[in-house]
């Protein structure tokens, strides 16, 4: 771009008080209607979770992590527990494994339901903003029945899970899942089937798989490019039950541009994600054995941990979510805990994806990447 174009450029701050910027600020340089430069700024949500974790013991740490991302609270707290279990070398009961997996997938459904609404709201359809959120209420009712809390479930603990499935919970989960299945065709019509939606998202926010890997994107954002990169299949946590059943990693292949994806492909990918989650839950529920839900010795074991390093990873709704823990000998608290949020990369990648797009496409681009500011600010 020649410098005389930039003379006419105007700078617009997208955030932090902007209606649709959820607590972040992006500096956009506009020439006419086109964005020529995008400078994402982080830090408006920063609560120093990593430093906080250094002062919490291993049972309390997950409470901090839950509050980083409310939408996938259990998926967010799980890597910490997995890391602790790797350091102590805990093996948890079979029933607890399956219950954890079911709850993880259930939480993923909840997060994706929230995302449907959020994305539609960013594209300006308020009916679709609220319809998925109604279904989400049923999901939250089920969470509340099980754990007593709607968002921050704090369900798992090192060595097992805290609350047992009850018949009431099974009934409420059945209601929530059948509601998702029942409303899926409607949402398909309202989102992917809508001509105005296709106009807004097709060809918007392009990137290739190679670029996405270099930027560190993961999860649905890269599966939409056709790469079946999924930690549930590739590197499953030993205390989860993904290996017990047969399931397929969902990917989206676009014939027009193989190996690339745009906002529309990312939407399709997330539809497939929710179908996969439903599939996994359906297959795991009959396998649920009777037995204990927590290893009784675990509570004593996690009081003081041996020296070691553990890397707990889980495939979150938005991508690879991981916690890297280092403990010293006989530690009550971690020496260092690194939280790797998936949206750290997707928010950074706005810097590369957005230039060249129209100003009105900006909400479509960031909405399709499913950003959550807690993940990059922590």
């Amino acid at each position: 771009m020649s410098p005389d174009i930039l003379d006419e450029a105007s700078v617009i701050w997208f955030g932090p008080q902007h209606v649709s910027a959820h607590g972040w600020a992006t500096k956009l340089t506009l020439v006419g209607d086109y964005i020529v430069e995008c400078d994402p700024n982080a830090g408006y949500f920063h609560r120093s979770a990593e430093k906080c974790l250094e002062f919490r013991n291993f049972r309390q740490g997950s409470m901090i992590l839950e509050r980083i991302c409310m939408m996938e609270a259990f998926l967010a707290e799980y890597p910490y527990i997995a890391a602790v279990e790797k350091i102590v070398d805990l093996e948890i009961p079979e029933r607890a494994k399956i219950m954890r997996t079911i709850m993880l997938e259930f939480n993923r459904i909840h997060s994706l339901q929230f995302w449907w609404g959020q994305f539609a709201g960013e594209l300006g359809l308020f009916a679709m903003l609220l319809w998925p959120w109604v279904d989400r209420e049923y999901t939250l009712d089920a969470f509340e029945e099980l754990t007593g809390s709607r968002h921050t479930v704090s369900y798992a603990t090192p060595g097992g899970v805290k609350y047992d499935f009850t018949p009431k919970f099974h009934a409420k989960m059945e209601i929530a899942l059948s509601r998702v299945k029942e409303r899926m065709p409607v949402f398909d019509d309202m989102l992917a089937g809508s001509p105005t939606f296709r106009l807004r998202t097709e060809g918007v926010g392009h990137y290739t798989a190679k670029q996405a890997l270099k930027w560190g994107l993961s999860g649905p954002n890269i599966k939409a490019c056709g790469i079946p990169m999924d930690l549930r299949k590739d590197d499953p946590d030993p205390n989860l039950a993904y290996g017990m059943i047969d399931w397929e990693v969902p990917t989206t292949h676009n014939e027009e541009h193989p190996g690339e994806c745009d906002a529309f492909d990312r939407l399709l990918q997330r539809f497939k994600e929710i179908e996969t989650s439903l599939d996994i839950i359906d297959k795991l529920l009959p396998l649920l054995p009777e037995g204990p839900i927590i290893d009784p010795k675990a509570r004593a074991k996690v009081n003081r941990l041996p020296e070691g390093e553990g890397y707990g990873r889980v495939e979150g709704t938005r991508g690879v979510t991981s916690v890297w823990l280092k403990t010293m000998e006989k530690a009550q608290t971690p020496w260092r805990a690194k939280i790797r949020g998936p949206c750290f990369a997707s928010y950074y990648s706005l810097k590369h994806i957005v230039p060249g797009a129209r100003f009105a496409d900006f909400p479509a681009i960031f909405g399709s990447l499913d950003p959550y500011p807690g993940w990059w600010d922590r």
């Binding site: 509340e144 007593g148 609350y163 409607v186 019509d189 001509p195």
Partner: protein, 143 residues
């Protein structure tokens, strides 16, 4: 797709929206109606001082230091007074699961708003009693 396909899509969307208009709305009149809360709801706490042994496990378990213990204030043999600061409490349930003497529980009361910040520190007089049934002042129950 084509023009006709788009027209079909548009009419399908209009059909969904039109059906939605004549459905019963999901929301309810909140202050007057409320849903029943499950047994497990992690609302405000209740402290049963007869059973308390002043072991302070709940205070140690609290990740946000929301509980203050006063061991001098004894009403029974070996109990203590607990002060819950609900401006800090995150309702994680750790204190309840840490209590081995069944002296601390959650209640399904979740609407604990107050006009003053100091009123949210529930001292021993407030934390040991339920001043009202959940949902009592709201009138009709719903769903």
């Amino acid at each position: 797709m084509g023009f006709v396909g788009n027209l079909g899509d548009i009419f399908r969307i209009l059909k969904h929206v039109f059906r939605q208009v004549f459905r019963r709305p999901f929301t309810y009149f909140y202050p007057f109606e409320d849903r029943p809360y499950p047994e497990a709801t992690r609302g405000r706490h209740i402290h049963i001082r007869e059973k308390c042994t002043a072991c302070a496990q709940c205070v140690r378990a609290c990740p946000v230091a929301a509980i203050r213990i006063d061991k001098e204030d004894k009403k029974f043999e070996k109990d203590c007074a607990l002060y819950f600061d609900y401006t800090r409490c995150i309702f994680c349930g750790d204190c309840v699961s840490a209590c081995r003497f069944e002296a601390l529980f959650h209640t399904p009361i979740v609407d604990i708003s107050e006009g003053d910040r100091e009123d949210l520190v529930y001292g021993p007089d407030k934390i040991t009693t339920l001043d009202r049934d959940p949902l009592e002042w709201r009138g009709r129950r719903f769903r």
